[in-house]
């Protein structure tokens, strides 16, 4: 069972998190500068998120986009990533995270997302998600 209660909860959390990252942190300008767009394909709960410099789109709207990089993982891996509890080389090597798109762009996403890792604990508190996993 996923750490996220349901799809709606995850969409609310990530809609808010991505918008805050894009508008209020260095993530937005750096994402724009990099020219990278990202499609996250998440299992359990099943969500598709498309993120670019303008914001986040979900599900059918997201699927209609053509991203530079696509990343696929399950919901618990997403949660652990934002909590800085994922060893990225291990997750890639063990296929816990799968990516499609130029490898050097995939590696570029990891440092770009760091502002979100700083914000995420407050979302865990707000949505009652465990942080000690």
């Amino acid at each position: 069972m996923s750490v996220f209660k349901d799809k709606e909860m995850a969409k609310e959390l990530f809609g808010d998190l991505w918008n805050k990252m894009i508008k209020e942190t260095e993530f937005g300008p750096k994402l724009k500068q990099s020219g990278i767009t990202i499609l996250f394909v998440v299992d359990d709960p099943d969500i598709v998120m498309y993120v670019d410099e303008n914001g986040v789109l979900f599900d059918d709207e997201a699927k209609a986009k053509v991203p530079v990089v696509t990343m696929k993982m399950n919901g618990d891996m997403v949660h652990k990533y934002w909590l800085k509890k994922v060893n990225i080389p291990k997750a890639l090597a063990m296929r816990q995270i799968k990516a499609k798109g130029p490898v050097n762009k995939v590696l570029q996403i990891l440092p770009l997302l760091k502002p979100g890792q700083e914000l995420y604990p407050q979302y865990c508190e707000k949505f009652g998600l465990p942080t000690n996993i």
């Binding site: 799968k98 050097n104 440092p111 770009l112």
Partner: protein, 417 residues
């Protein structure tokens, strides 16, 4: 001469990148490689050697960051653009191509972690380096272990009987490294940093290995003599010794629980580079042979006017185009997915090195007795190509590994996301 590209979709940027690589390859790499080839292994790395000029110019032009993420100062090249550059480099010198590619290995693997300390210590300084003073090497083989270090499908790979020549043990918050790497470590005697494979849990054989990054100016590190060999003489290789070398815990970037798939990821990348360089080497054999056959007169007419030579030149050409098609396809796949489908990298490396070797072998036959002399480039291309059949895993071991992967994973599921 600019070699025709069958790809009609190259952009202006692709062509500009290829032209810049071609300029560097023809005006810097090739002349320096020819000069280094005639020197002893000691002279190649001595003060005043043209090797240092090669490093300086390559770093000035940012060719050392080709594989690095743009965020840290890499060039952000597409897989096709990486191939375009590496083919030109391979055309100029296989040995110097390998030298430059391994220079980024420690920083490249550190960038995978996104660990702030590793990034600040290893990745950013490497990307910012413009004088060639930060140079990596890939320390994988050992005196008693050559291709068996990658034979993950063999029973012995995870046997406790397989004892590494380089062991690491934990001591508090540090790792302590003892042992040595083989004389075949590319860049071994001149590198400032190593991406080092080391045995952490001997009870699991090489499945108990780990992967760490080690600055080679640390106390306890010493080097052997530069290795003398028949080909790729411009590529420095030599032993590295470790005597109670201590590194912080986070410099160990892979431990036994995921060492094998991590090894596969690194091998897949390295083999793609080998395949692209081989395309350039195969092309060099074609271009040099074509030039020679147009100039050399036998029986009253240029060699190229002889029926048998036309056939031989065409055979060189078809192998170049096959190399290019194979290596580009594999690079386009495996530099666009993580983790890679390793068997395609193995396919590209084995196929392209064999075809490049065949081309250089045939080049000597085309040049006749002149091909055997040091006056012409054909014999150097042949010597360089011979090493590629063993380098980065001998082709037989790589083929067995590929067969192991096919047995374990096929049919591959489509990439459906």
């Amino acid at each position: 001469m600019e070699y025709f590209d069958i790809n009609m979709d190259l952009t202006a940027e692709d062509k500009a990148i290829r032209a810049a690589a071609r300029e560097f390859a023809s005006k810097v790499m090739r002349p320096i490689s020819l000069e280094l080839d005639r020197m002893t292994a000691e002279e190649v790395v001595a003060d005043g050697s043209p090797l240092w000029e090669f490093f300086r110019k390559a770093y000035e032009l940012d060719f050392h960051t080709i594989l690095m993420p743009e965020f840290y100062g890499g060039q952000g090249l597409s897989p096709l653009q990486i191939h375009l550059v590496y083919e030109e480099f391979g055309w100029a010198s296989f040995g110097l191509s390998v030298q430059l590619a391994v220079a980024c290995f420690p920083a490249y693997c550190a960038s995978m972690t996104a660990d702030d300390e590793l990034v600040d210590t290893f990745v950013k300084p490497f990307c910012e380096c413009r004088d060639g003073s930060i140079r990596g090497c890939w320390g994988i083989t050992e005196p008693e272990h050559g291709s068996d270090v990658i034979a993950v499908g063999e029973d012995y790979f995870s046997s406790p009987d397989l004892q590494g020549n380089l062991q690491v043990v934990q001591d508090g918050e540090e790792w302590v490294i003892n042992g040595q790497k083989s004389a075949w470590v590319s860049g071994g005697t001149l590198a400032t940093h190593a991406l080092l494979h080391c045995q952490m849990d001997p009870s699991r054989g090489f499945a108990g290995n780990g992967l760490c990054i080690v600055p080679l100016d640390m106390e306890g590190v010493s080097r052997g003599k530069p290795l003398e060999k028949i080909g790729q003489r411009d590529l420095n290789q030599g032993e590295i010794y470790f005597d109670n070398v201590r590194i912080p815990r986070n410099w160990m970037i892979a431990e036994p629980d995921f060492y094998v798939p991590m090894l596969d990821m690194i091998l897949a990348s390295a083999n793609l580079c080998m395949a692209a360089f081989s395309t350039g080497l195969a092309r060099a054999a074609l271009e040099e042979s074509l030039t020679y056959t147009r100039q050399r007169v036998q029986g009253g007419k240029p060699l190229i006017k002889h029926y048998v030579m036309k056939q031989r030149i065409f055979d060189l050409f078809r192998r170049v185009e096959t190399c290019r098609a194979v290596s580009r396809a594999a690079m386009n796949l495996n530099f666009n997915i993580s983790p890679p489908h390793v068997e395609y990298s193995l396919w590209a490396k084995t196929q392209c090195t064999e075809m490049a070797f065949k081309n250089t072998h045939e080049a000597i036959q085309i040049w006749g007795a002149n091909g055997l002399t040091k006056e012409y480039i054909a014999e150097k291309l042949f010597r360089d190509a011979r090493a590629t059949l063993i380098e980065d895993g001998n082709n037989e071991t790589l083929a067995r590994h590929g067969g192991h992967i096919l047995g374990e994973t096929y049919p591959r599921r489509p990439i459906d996301f």
